[in-house]
Symmetry: C3
Subunit: 449 residues, 3 copies
Amino acid sequence: MLTAEENATLTQTGPGTPMGKTFRHYWLPALLSRELPAPDCPPVRVKLLGEDFVAFRDSNGQVGIVEPRCPHRGAHLFFGRNEESGLRCAYHGWKFDVAGRCVDAPTATPEVAERLKPRAAIRALRTAEAGDIVWAWFGGAEPPGLPDFEFMAVPESHRFVGKKYQQCNWAQACEGGLDTAHFSYLHAAMSEGEKVGLHLAGVPKAERQGDNEPVRLKRLSWMIDDGAPRFTVLPHAAGMLLCAARTADDDQLYWRMTQFLMPNHSLTPGNLPEDTALANTWMPIDDTSCWIFCYAWHPDRPIRERERERLAAGAGIFAEVDEHYVPIRRRENDYLLDRDAQRTRSFTGIDGISEQDQAIADSQGLIADRTHELLGQTDLGVVRFRQAVLRAAAGVEAGETPLGAADPGAYRVRSGDAVAAHGAAIEDVVHGRFGEFWGKAVQAVAAGG
Amino acid sequence: MLTAEENATLTQTGPGTPMGKTFRHYWLPALLSRELPAPDCPPVRVKLLGEDFVAFRDSNGQVGIVEPRCPHRGAHLFFGRNEESGLRCAYHGWKFDVAGRCVDAPTATPEVAERLKPRAAIRALRTAEAGDIVWAWFGGAEPPGLPDFEFMAVPESHRFVGKKYQQCNWAQACEGGLDTAHFSYLHAAMSEGEKVGLHLAGVPKAERQGDNEPVRLKRLSWMIDDGAPRFTVLPHAAGMLLCAARTADDDQLYWRMTQFLMPNHSLTPGNLPEDTALANTWMPIDDTSCWIFCYAWHPDRPIRERERERLAAGAGIFAEVDEHYVPIRRRENDYLLDRDAQRTRSFTGIDGISEQDQAIADSQGLIADRTHELLGQTDLGVVRFRQAVLRAAAGVEAGETPLGAADPGAYRVRSGDAVAAHGAAIEDVVHGRFGEFWGKAVQAVAAGG
Amino acid sequence: MLTAEENATLTQTGPGTPMGKTFRHYWLPALLSRELPAPDCPPVRVKLLGEDFVAFRDSNGQVGIVEPRCPHRGAHLFFGRNEESGLRCAYHGWKFDVAGRCVDAPTATPEVAERLKPRAAIRALRTAEAGDIVWAWFGGAEPPGLPDFEFMAVPESHRFVGKKYQQCNWAQACEGGLDTAHFSYLHAAMSEGEKVGLHLAGVPKAERQGDNEPVRLKRLSWMIDDGAPRFTVLPHAAGMLLCAARTADDDQLYWRMTQFLMPNHSLTPGNLPEDTALANTWMPIDDTSCWIFCYAWHPDRPIRERERERLAAGAGIFAEVDEHYVPIRRRENDYLLDRDAQRTRSFTGIDGISEQDQAIADSQGLIADRTHELLGQTDLGVVRFRQAVLRAAAGVEAGETPLGAADPGAYRVRSGDAVAAHGAAIEDVVHGRFGEFWGKAVQAVAAGG
């Protein structure tokens, strides 16, 4: 539970706000590389952290993300022509490169134009491409290196990325991603009013063999049977590992371990060592909507064609979206909630794991009110997330660099599931599953609480 | 004509407003029973008096109307599962019964849950069903009995009820229902630019016989010919009887007598003793929209199948509505106004008595401005309505119980038409037509003026 | 560049604003005569300068533009019946003539009605029809004569008028009409990334002969080759002539000469002596939308049928509009921008000269921000327009009659193109092209700068 002031700090990311300033210390995903598919392709509108931009890819393939307003008379550069290494305003032909420099001002005489151009530069974000994502740096100072996400390091064939529009504030959507407890409810499959399993993205049959297959088969019933997981939180140099234990068979615990990475990323649990890994970034558009970037990758092999097709169609953390990346099942149409299905087949009656998550986050309101809540032990991940980002925002106000912003290597971590003996030390569970990839410790591993 | 302050008082019914507090002293219709057709059927969203609720029918058939927000993390209970005598939140499975009690909190351990549940109760309105309507009691104290409307006392076969959405403040729509003068204009049928009658709901042929048939045939022309009816207002213990006289034949007067019942009901004129009776409740959704509940009943016989079909299709005070009870002819489409029809067939060019009423009320604005009006003697019913409800609101502010709220029996009244000699005393006209059903007098019958 | 206060003054035209008061000193176009096609035809809603009205044509063909609210109970007169020289309210039959007089109040007794009617008069604008346009006078005092536009003086056969909806403030749309420089860019035709001409409305082949044909053929390339025209501004008694010179062949200059007429009219350049002339009025609906009235006329001959059809279909300054005069290609659909067309055929990828202008004006925002601009010599026309209307508004605040308002004859001017020797005096160019029709001088002809 937060005070109204804390809730405002957590949820507002526009220019000048504490959290807005905090976000602007990090490289952030701005759009998918494929939204700008080729040199000199059409420019697109981009809104991030409450600010409007136009993005374009120049003749050399460089991406520019610039303020949308021509400095001459204020026409919008979305209507501009993207030509010969610059975006040319449709009104009077003034032209700007990816760095925001005015490179042509043809309504002026040549002599006047030379004096004019330096004054006619427009704001441009630093950009970089990695992992099929265009990253943007909003800060004024020299940017750090890109966060060293594993999905950006693997060959292109080993990953698939996408995005989806969410019609509420970023923070409550992100909280949903850190809240493993809801798996026992929101995503449950029903039969005759009884929970019989989970609506999880299926794993291709070809994968269903090996040492972990028994865990894969049993964990659905463990999640259904134990709806009150116990959390242990392990802070590290870029965020924290949230470890949630449920009762498994034979005096064992089933651990689902989620990474939260500052300021707005998570690596999801649910994968076993041989599985495709999944992650998200919850990127504010403004204070009442966000893009959820979705990443799938396999450390060791290409994403198979059939899996790629399923992800593109909206499996798992990916949603079924239209050509604008807006989910087909969304706030306006009550997510095509089917009450018969809710009675007979699923806890929500809404198709799609992602859509179930989006529906429940939207249902908390455009901006969730956190001043009246009844938080319990299963909400510990959510509580620690709030503390971490509010602490970072307070630090930024005090002139500090927030956690992880200057430490790209700290983002080379993994998430996933494990089964261990009931009394096993969390260090052993984590190291057994991830080795060095659980997170660069900034402090001795601490049990959460 | 009201002051701006009086107009605000009249039209605002949200929590804490004077009229809002006044409404909350009465049982009020919340939805149709058939909107919750069976035990454990899908929950529905309900907004009344500016407050959001979720309504559901539990396994025992009891209706709950509860605040829509789960106290755990604020998810909306509309997305919940209605199962085994409770509504279960889709996020983490917390469950609430029709009284708002938390009956399950499965993310907590059993011991924690027992301490948690009492703190997790949510607000629930008292509900009761009568007349195929779900009634709600918003007050904090013990509710009085339900108002003793005749339509709720007759067998189910003898009535038909419905509702329709109105896109303006409740009070101006209610005023339209109390304003018999407009019948001579708004609902007039035209031929070649001349008024030739009224667009009234036809009475089935089978009924067209008996002593009153001459009145039935002539009153249309009386209403057309006399567009300035004279009002006499008779206050009683639940409201007032508004009696409007028009010149009839043979030195007689044609009386149309409307009941206004506190705080937002009317029984319509137009019926003769053998006819189906009609009534409305104007129920605020918020300050710029309302539900109009529509009741048709016959004291002595079932509603015949063909009449029921006509009412369901939108005859008389019923509108032609879509599956959400929104009129097909509405503000956004200018009520499908047909200017050719307006020239040749009807005063408005809008199909439907109800739709004509709704159009003209909407046309006064989302909230009618009553600070500039030119009221005359035909507006006396409207004036007395305003006085009555403003007086009640002032009394509530002073700690009084408003008129009728503690007197359910005072709602057993009737409305209707009569013809009487020009000089007949109003007491005789009223008692001749209604007997004891004109209204429990709180004062000697007083001539209005 | 303006201060924020100047920009507010320029763009706000509601009642009581400085520019609103200035506009109300002039006759202004309210609607097309054909929107009220016959006596007693349906009334229409009209919004102008932030005020709502209902317009109707009475049995005698006179047009009334009246406040929309019936003074009795506030019903909207749009729903009224237009009959026998008056608009009758649909609620209770009160009736108003084109001068706003209440001519019937049938809910009152005859004696009461006679006392009531004078108090029941509603506001009515003075109206006049000329040039197939209904003109309105918002002022309280006695109006001056109608502006003596040539298009209103020619026979009806010689003209065609229309209107189109623009989704931004009037002033930036008007600035676009005064800004000849953008012709070299916004309206350019492309081939393989090179500008090859202009998207101008074609002139029918039958016209393509005579002395001016060489100019007609060459000016497209002159406009493409010289994107930095030089302005000379000639003030006169109703506004100013904006003369823009581009380099032509043989040491000549190609002049495009635009009229700006107070407070919101322009006569467009582009026509040669034998051509159809074109003009616009930018009429504020409110501060974020306007009607652009479009006038085409020929001083000497009828508009030919084929040209009329092309104009009606949206050629040149006319847009392709729906039945409500809203452009088919508009803000909501990004003007059906075709990025392939933008690459291969046109600078914008938007079809239609008018739609290109509308898109770029809309793109400046609902109200253009003029506090950050980089104006150059090609923006001189825009600068002088702002100065003229702001000066008029300041004068009105000081009790003066603004330029042109009391001088109808000063509006009998023309615009158009000419070719002249490089060193020719502007007086000779102007008088050679227009004779007395360039504008009644209020001061010696002055070179702009």
